[in-house]
């Protein structure tokens, strides 16, 4: 339904198309000398690596600093095989060898370093980029300092050469570019972008973080390996100097300048940075200074890069033409939009809409028995019992630090428990990882909403619909996402960008995303905090509707009157212990609760 708008070519894509056309006709404008073509082909091999780097760092948010390492291994593997079997191995064979080699190296680096997370991947890859030139400079297999020269091998012939080779290389770059674009728009790409936003968020909707990161890293290694094979084929030579650690930093600079996370960023940035490095002439000796300064300038001043840059106005990109920025770099520019949600969904409609969305969801009882968890010497949870029955709302109240959020976090699997058991419909879930618990039907929202800022509201909900995996086809999935948004009264804003939304809307988007998982259990962490009165009305209706639809709802909330109004049962926590549990009125009147909340003998509700 939005296809008409989607066809509009944004300025960024206009630039991309002009650049591609210029490159296609370039050899026919009197630049077809062999050395000129070889030089451009070299730049193209760098673009392939940059496109790969963008997948892991730009899309999936995992910083990799040593893209040159995979490039080197791919290039050397291809060169060695081509040198030994010159008569049988051509360009395709070299690419095949490089793909295998780069996948192996990807596993060797990725498996151990991604398990740890943080910036280990960045440092490990950088270290490999540093080690590989030293190793190949000493190994007989790799020709030591001289490297491997296919040019000197009389059996080796370029079956494709001259302008044709230039065109093949350019075509390979464009194919990789299109594949990387399709990837960004695929389910997997959506998972990558969600992971880049927040690992906690990703696992809370059932995305396994480690496997997804590893996949992103492997997918980034493949174009780098192909780049290496093309290097060996087009330059007919590879040596330790071809794969210096500086190359990795320049490739990083290419993506930073062009814009990490945008489809065209590595292409445009790569042409600028690697192109510059080829045509600096006598300034070549200052290369490190030029690119270092460029990197600092962009990292500080324009973290979204050239292709990610937009004037400061709210503009919505169609779903399939978005270019998502790396959220880690510099943070999003949040345009101030102050506009409260008018509850567009009348109350009975909310109930019907939610019931329809949640039909067929598992109705299971959530039970926490004797749950204890300590942090250092602090007993955050001490022998806590809570039961949430299907179709009911269980309110969790208590002062700050009483253990409410900790309880939600142990249920969703962020923290392990020291003692006790947590069960969902009789099956133990404590000890399972967060994404498995989410897959078992436990959805949640966060105290501070976690959203993919560059995506639209639909995008944010869509990833949860896709994760559930029951809706077939993009159109149906988008439709489901829209219905989830409509259920929380956000139908009108579905195509606006998440980063521009006020706090209240962001919370409701989280609730819509939870609905999209069609959960049996919904955990809400202070959903009412910071909401305006009309927004609280919408929220109340939705929570009640979720319970009516058969789900078990556990709400942590400071707004005690709201809890007492909607909850079927209430548990009060104080310093990690349950001090009262039962019907809302009884808990509110319980002397210990009154004392804990007010420190005086006054009722909670007057």
């Amino acid at each position: 339904m939005r296809r008409a708008a989607a066809a509009r070519i944004t300025p960024a894509w206009g630039v991309g198309i002009v650049v591609v056309l210029a490159l296609v006709v370039w050899p026919y404008l009197g630049h077809s000398q062999a050395y000129q073509l070889t030089r451009l082909e070299y730049i193209f091999t760098g673009l392939m690596v940059a496109i790969g780097l963008n997948i892991v760092t730009g899309y999936a948010g995992q910083l990799s600093l040593g893209p040159g390492a995979v490039y080197a291994v791919g290039g050397y593997a291809a060169a060695i095989v081509a040198n030994d079997h010159a008569s049988v191995v051509g360009l395709a064979g070299m690419c095949g060898v490089a793909l295998v080699a780069s996948a192996v190296l990807g596993l060797v680096i990725g498996v151990p370093s991604l398990r740890v997370g943080g910036f280990y991947l960045g440092m490990t890859t950088l270290f490999f980029a540093l080690v590989i030139p030293t190793v190949v400079a000493n190994l007989k297999l790799t020709g030591k300092e001289q490297g491997i020269s296919l040019l000197a091998n009389i059996d080796f012939h370029q079956h494709v050469s001259g302008v044709a080779l230039y065109q093949v290389t350019l075509a390979a770059v464009l194919v990789l570019l299109v594949l990387s674009w399709l990837l960004l728009e695929s389910r997997l790409g959506h998972r990558f972008v969600t992971l880049a936003t927040s690992e906690e968020l990703a696992s809370s909707i059932g995305i396994p973080p480690y496997r997804t990161k590893l996949l992103a890293f492997l997918l980034s290694a493949l174009p780098a390996g192909i780049g290496g094979a093309f290097y060996a084929y087009t330059q007919q030579f590879i040596s330790p100097g071809s794969v210096s650690p500086q190359l990795s930093i320049y490739l990083l600079a290419a993506c930073v300048v062009g814009g990490f996370g945008t489809v065209l960023g590595p292409f445009v940035g790569g042409l600028i940075v690697i192109g510059l490095s080829q045509y600096l002439g006598r300034f070549e000796q200052y290369e490190g200074i030029i690119f270092g300064v460029l990197l600092v300038l962009f990292a500080v001043g324009l973290p979204e890069g050239i292709m990610g840059f937009e004037p400061r106005r709210v503009r919505v990109r169609p779903v399939w033409l978005r270019a998502l920025r790396l959220p880690g770099l510099g943070g999003p520019r949040v345009e101030p939009v102050v506009r409260a949600v008018e509850p567009s969904a009348p109350r009975p409609a909310a109930v019907g809409a939610v019931a329809e969305l949640l039909s067929g969801a598992p109705a299971e009882r959530l039970e926490a028995r004797n749950v204890s968890r300590a942090f250092g010497g602090v007993r955050a949870l001490d022998d806590v019992d809570v039961t949430v029955r299907p179709g009911t709302i269980h309110g969790l109240i208590g002062s700050n630090g009483s253990g409410k959020t900790t309880l939600l976090n142990v249920v969703s699997g962020y923290y392990a428990i020291d003692r006790g058991r947590i069960a969902l419909g009789g099956a133990r879930i404590d000890g399972r990882s967060t994404h498995r618990i989410a897959a078992a039907g436990v959805a949640r929202t966060f105290q501070t909403p976690k959203l993919v800022e560059r995506g639209t509201l639909v995008d944010n909900v869509l990833v949860a619909v896709e994760q559930r995996g029951e809706v077939r086809g993009r159109r149906a999935a988008v439709d489901t996402a829209r219905r989830c948004l409509a259920a929380v009264g956000l139908a009108e804003r579905a195509d606006e960008r998440a980063g521009t939304q006020p706090h209240g809307t962001r919370r409701l988007v989280e609730v819509a995303r939870a609905l999209a998982l069609r959960p049996g259990v919904v955990l809400l962490d202070e959903p009412g905090a910071g909401l305006s009165a009309p927004e609280v009305d919408v929220l109340r209706d939705v929570i009640v509707a979720i319970a009516r639809a058969g789900a078990a709802v556990l709400v942590v909330e400071h707004n005690v009157p709201l809890v007492l109004e909607i909850a079927d049962e209430v548990t009060a926590l104080h310093e990690g212990r349950v001090i009262a549990t039962g019907l809302p009125g009884d808990v509110a009147a319980h002397p210990d609760v009154v004392a804990a909340f007010l420190g005086a003998n006054e009722g909670l509700v007057s």
Binding site: L63, L65, P112, S113, R115, V116, F119, Y120, G122, M123, T124, L126, F127, F128, L130, V131, T134, V135, N138, E200, P245, Q246, I249, L252, A253, V256, Q285, Y286, E287, G288, I289, F291, G292, V293, L294, L295, V296, A299, V300, P303, G328, L329, G330, G331, F375, T405, N409, Y414, Y415, F446, Q447
Partner: protein, 294 residues
């Protein structure tokens, strides 16, 4: 056996320099949550300043100490202002500084390479006699023992600074919780400047001490930065002692690798250590798993 003991002593001495880098990392990381990837390049600047003062200008050793400390600390402060401070106010899981400190290191390296020229590493005079020191059957160079001694003194000094001085405690508070520290009137920007000042001084000391051992080598920067990181990965982030133990382990492993396997592939030794620690104990030896904040 003598060879082995000598390799271990040399390893501890080289490890002592890595140890100074890890302390620099930790001081800066604790105060700013920034991992200064130019730390190794700062050490390299110290080495080259030593070379310039002692071998080019023929000034005395005292002048070298002053010039190196002031010079490297100044570069560190410039780095803090340009490549780090812009990121301090931004969101928590920011990685822009990662790129900017790496890039700053690249700039420093290129500048120094231009100034030094395309020459092989030249020797740098040591403040100590070059005659070997004989302890029983073992003969060792005084400069190596000097490096170990400096590490011990610096470690104690940093620990005392953190425990006994108001400023040190303020920096520890910032490490624990930046926002709370800011509320208590501790200016995070000032803490950041002081952290980089200390980091720069530590890099300067490291450069001065290691110069006579490694010579005027302009290429060591990035390698040192990464080895410092691996030392922290082994010891555990945030812990000064853990980092030092990791650093000494790398130093000794490298020397033993040189002795028994092949010195040409020395750099593989630390890579192997990193892969082993990632496989066996990914959080490092001296640190518990971090609690994630949701």
């Amino acid at each position: 056996m003598t060879l082995f003991v000598n390799a271990v002593i040399t390893g501890i001495a080289v490890g002592a320099v890595y140890g100074l880098i890890t302390i620099g990392y930790t001081v800066v990381f604790n105060a700013t949550r920034v991992f200064n990837l130019a730390q190794g390049d700062l050490v390299m600047v110290g080495v080259l300043l030593s070379y310039w003062v002692l071998d080019v200008q023929h000034w005395p050793q005292v002048a070298a100490v002053v010039v190196v400390l002031v010079g490297v600390a100044a570069v560190a402060l410039v780095e803090e202002r340009i490549a780090v401070r812009p990121f301090l106010g931004r969101s928590r899981d920011n990685i822009g500084w990662f790129i900017s400190t790496l890039a700053f290191g690249l700039v420093i390296e290129t500048v120094v390479v231009r100034l030094y020229g395309n020459n092989p590493p030249r020797p740098v005079p040591s403040p100590l006699p070059s005659t070997r020191l004989h302890i029983g059957s073992i003969a060792t160079r005084p400069q190596l023992l000097f490096a170990i001694g400096v590490l011990v003194v610096v470690t104690i000094a940093v620990e005392v600074f953190y425990r006994r001085t108001w400023l040190g405690q303020a920096m520890r508070a910032t490490a624990d919780d930046r926002d709370v520290a800011a509320l208590r009137g501790i200016d995070p920007r000032r803490v950041s400047v002081i952290a980089f000042l200390i980091g720069g001084l530590l890099a300067g000391i490291g450069g001065y001490v290691v110069a006579p051992i490694v010579y005027a080598d302009v290429t060591i920067g990035l390698t040192y930065s990464i080895k410092g990181f691996i030392a922290l990965a082994i010891g555990g982030f945030g812990s000064i002692r853990g980092g030092i133990i990791g650093a000494l382990a790398i130093g000794v492993a490298e020397q033993l690798f040189d002795l028994y396997i092949d010195p040409r592939y020395e750099i593989v030794a630390s890579l192997a250590l990193l892969m082993i620690i990632l496989a066996v104990r990914p959080t490092g030896l001296f640190r518990n798993a971090v609690v994630r904040e949701v």
